[in-house]
């Protein structure tokens, strides 16, 4: 036990002595939470819209003004031809353009039906879908308004049957994306800092030759591993604590559940990555190699964690793969506890899985660490 303390003391000294690393460890994560949380939103706003008004009638102007009034659209300008519209779209200047035909008003009143041509830049398929929905909403409202103006009152028996939908958004009434992203980004930072630092730490000693020096001492494997990893565990917990406070006070992310449930989960979760980092450093000779492997896993873990894109949308084989993704579990848990107030019982399945994961990783790490070659 005493031996471990000596190692821990040394690791902390080394961490705090590296003047270049300190800001990276402490300042960068905070900046990232602050900046990136604002960036990560799937909300579609500021849609650049251009139009061609071949009719220049009261109705056509009214329709355009409806788009102008909407919060989602920014009117980019009026175009003279469709060709100009396609051109602007190819340059990426506009997202949508609408072409109003020359007989718009007349035909609407006479034929009671008129087609409106709409072009959407659909490279971002999801955004395009949302843009389309917004456009349809505006057009339907406009339809209803004209109908109300032009149509006589219909008796109730012949009236339209309507199925109304009342949406309610639990836990996040304003559909604030930051509430959703901040907890996830905290998880990412905790993961990246602990994983990469621990992964590189031991390889670094290998590279500078001090590991050999330690291997000729009577120190026990477990003492060395615990001593090396503990400081990074503390670091991880610190970043978690800091991140959650920023989330609460800067972004007003709610903390409905018990923070100790998160702390408990995080304590075990960090062990998974420390073990993994140690494991990688056992199988590599240079920091560059270690980095590579760590990076490979982290990018996959991040993009398949449900942080940015929902896991349910993945094909079922990919969903099965995410079962092996520790980041996924922590993101689920931190969101559940912070945003929904889930309790210990609710997160038990995730807790069990992550504990098994941690045990397996660390056993592998201890077994594969050899003092003797």
């Amino acid at each position: 036990m005493k031996t471990i303390l000596f190692i821990i003391q040394k690791e902390f000294k080394q961490i705090f002595r590296n003047k270049a690393m300190l800001p990276i460890i402490f300042v960068l994560p905070i900046m990232q939470i602050v900046i990136l949380s604002f960036a990560a939103t799937f909300e579609v706003t500021n849609i650049e819209l251009a139009y061609i008004d071949n009719d220049k009638s009261t109705y056509s102007r009214e329709l355009i003004s409806k788009f102008k009034a909407s919060n989602y659209f920014t009117i980019n300008g009026e175009l003279s031809s469709a060709k100009q519209g396609f051109d602007a779209m190819q340059k990426g200047e506009i997202d949508v353009f609408i072409e109003i035909p020359s007989n718009f008003e007349r035909q609407l009143i006479k034929e009671k039906e008129i087609a409106l041509s709409i072009q959407i830049d659909a490279i971002n398929g999801a955004s395009a879908g949302v843009e389309n929905a917004y456009i349809n909403q505006i057009i339907q409202k406009f339809n209803a308004k004209i109908r109300a103006e032009l149509m006589p009152v219909i008796p109730k028996s012949k009236g339209l049957k309507r199925l109304e939908l009342t949406p309610s958004y639990w836990y996040n009434e304003t559909l604030d994306y930051k509430t959703f992203m901040v907890p996830g980004i905290i998880v990412l930072l905790v993961t990246m800092v602990t994983f990469f630092l621990s992964g590189m730490n031991i390889v670094r000693e290998k590279e500078i030759g001090t590991l050999e020096q330690i291997n000729v001492t009577p120190i026990k494997k477990y003492q060395f591993i615990i001593g090396k990893l503990f400081p990074f565990w503390v670091l991880g917990i610190f970043i978690l604590f800091f991140g959650m406070n920023i989330g609460r006070f800067l972004f007003e992310v709610p903390l409905l559940g018990n923070p100790f449930v998160i702390l408990l989960f995080a304590s075990i979760y960090i062990l998974v990555f420390l073990g993994m980092g140690f494991l990688i450093s056992n199988f590599t000779d240079t920091q560059q190699q270690a980095m590579f492997i760590a990076w490979f896993f982290v990018v996959i873990f991040i993009l398949m964690s449900g942080l940015f894109t929902p896991i349910e949308s993945m094909p079922s084989w990919a969903q099965k793969l995410t079962e092996f993704n520790p980041i996924r579990y922590f993101i689920e848990v931190i969101r559940m506890v912070m945003l929904k107030g889930s309790g210990f019982q609710d997160i038990l399945p995730q807790l069990i899985k992550i504990t098994v994961y941690a045990i397996v990783m660390n056993i592998l790490a201890v077994v594969s660490y050899r003092k003797v070659s």
Partner: protein, 243 residues
């Protein structure tokens, strides 16, 4: 054997695939002796030494160090030996004191004793004022003497030195050897690899390895007589050329 032979080696071998890095070497080292382990680069010195200090497993053969078998009890050996490699593996980003505390600590010394030892060690090296200096900023000579002293901090029975004087000036080398002599007089066994032949003259006995085998083993004086030359350098050259 008893206390006489503190290192005892028989047919010790390390194979990498078909390649014999160390090929059935046998020798013994007496207590308090300065034993020189010579050989050209790649002759197998370092590999042989690594087997003795328990960080490399021999393919076959027998060896006991400080009374413990290298196969069965490598961890017990480690308690009884000190080791200093050619890289002076101290932490550059820790201060002199911190390095002493760390290495003392992992050898299981008590904090009080480490404190006392630190004082003693610094004054012995004449660097009392450098305790809070980063090791990385010390001159090479000082670093090397410090590394040697730290390798001895737990008062081991044997110290293994792997090319300890690479890259330092003759004066520092001289001083370094004086330290080695002093320790040997106090009863510590010194096992040293080197390729400076003048240093070989300082040893009580030397062995010379050529391509994995020990080709000669005796006192420097005897070796010179056998090969009918005036210096160890010539002995070495004759052996290396296979004459």
């Amino acid at each position: 054997m008893k206390d006489q032979n503190i290192i005892q080696v028989k047919n010790l071998t390390k194979k990498y695939g078909d390649f014999f890095a160390v090929n059935e070497i046998s020798f013994h080292v007496k207590k308090g002796e300065i034993f020189g382990f010579l050989g050209a680069n790649g002759a197998g010195k370092t590999t042989a030494m690594k087997m003795l200090i328990g960080i490399s497993k021999p393919t076959y053969g027998e060896a006991t160090v400080a009374g413990f078998d290298v196969f069965k009890n490598p961890e017990k050996i480690k308690k009884n030996i000190g080791y200093m490699s050619q890289k002076f593996a101290l932490y550059d980003d820790l201060t002199v004191n911190e390095n002493i505390i760390f290495f003392g600590g992992i050898y299981g010394l008590k904090r009080k004793i480490i404190k006392h030892k630190t004082k003693e060690l610094l004054s012995y090296l004449g660097i009392e004022e450098l305790g809070k200096t980063l090791v990385g900023s010390l001159p090479l000579g000082v670093k090397q003497k410090l590394a040697f002293s730290i390798a001895l901090i737990h008062e081991p029975k044997i110290v293994f030195l792997d090319e300890p004087t690479g890259g330092v000036d003759p004066i520092t080398r001289r001083q370094f050897w004086e330290m080695i002599y002093e320790k040997a007089h106090q009863g510590t066994t010194i096992f040293v690899t080197t390729h400076y032949m003048d240093e070989a003259e300082y040893c009580d006995r030397v062995s010379i390895m050529v391509t994995g085998k020990i080709e000669a083993l005796d006192t420097p004086k005897k070796l010179k007589e056998i090969y009918k030359v005036d210096s160890m350098n010539e002995v070495f050259l004759k052996l290396a050329r296979g004459e």
